[in-house]
């Protein structure tokens, strides 16, 4: 294992982090990478958004409803 994860590993860690609490060492490696990488921070936000969007599926009571 590399000291710092590459973007590919980060994408896996971000996904895993949505399903379980990552061990402290993995979290630290992830956070340090994210602090240095705009693209992976975007993906982090996008995965969180994906979750909110799915929670809204069928629950949406929107103004533009058909």
């Amino acid at each position: 294992m590399k000291l710092l994860p590459d973007c590919r590993e980060v994408s896996r860690l971000l996904s895993a982090g949505q399903d379980r609490t990552l061990p402290a060492a993995e979290r630290a490696r992830l956070r340090l990478h994210l602090a240095m990488c705009d693209a992976c921070r975007n993906v982090e936000r996008q995965l969180a958004f994906l979750r909110r969007a799915l929670h809204g599926l069928g629950r949406e009571d929107r103004a533009d409803e058909r």
Binding site: D6, A39, N42, R45, L47, L50, L57
Partner: protein, 185 residues
């Protein structure tokens, strides 16, 4: 409008959700019919605190959770072409593990959640997932089940479950990027 006619109008959207989750037409039909009948049998249980659509979706989710609990393992599902999915993920990265095309930020994602069109795109993107990925992903994110429960009901390992969820999330991220957010930069 009578409750019957309001429920009849909900059949199509509910069927779509059930199909996205179950990937099995006859099971989806059955579970939606059960949902509509359950609401008609106990109309007093709907107190109007949410829209009928939201209420019905909630009942549908419970019915689907029950169905998967009882029959999750035996429900036939198209096997996954693991190789082509791995290849698709490989294609996102270059050899040193960096993004081939670094994902840009999405503009005004919260505003998308207010738009009906966005949800149509989201549904289309979920539908494009291979059935096995779609089912696990929907169990996790739509039915909001824990990974441990999903694995035991489908008879797969935690590790494989995590792999399926990762692939589903990457594909969906890509699909929304192309079909919704890409055009809005």
């Amino acid at each position: 409008m009578t409750l019957e006619s309001e429920l009849a109008a909900l059949r199509t959207p509910l069927l779509r959700f059930a199909q996205l989750q179950l990937r099995n037409d006859s099971a989806a039909e059955d579970v939606v019919s059960e949902t509509l009948l359950a609401i008609l049998e106990r109309p007093q249980a709907f107190e109007g605190r949410s829209s009928l659509r939201t209420y019905a979706t909630g009942i549908l989710k419970f019915k689907i959770i029950d169905l998967l609990r009882q029959r999750g393992r035996e429900m036939p599902i198209e096997p996954l072409d693991e190789q082509s999915i791995d290849d698709a993920i490989d294609a996102l990265f270059v050899a040193d593990g960096h993004w081939r095309e670094p994902p840009p930020a999405w503009q005004q994602p919260e505003a998308a959640l207010e738009q009906h069109q966005f949800f149509e795109v989201l549904e289309a993107c979920v539908e494009r997932l291979p059935p096995k990925l779609g089912r696990v992903f929907m169990m996790r994110e739509w039915l909001e089940r824990e990974v441990g429960e999903i694995c035991s009901e489908l008879g797969i390992t935690d590790n494989y479950c995590g792999v399926l969820l990762y692939r589903a999330r990457m594909q969906l991220r890509e699909c929304l990027d192309q079909r919704w957010f890409g055009g809005r930069r």
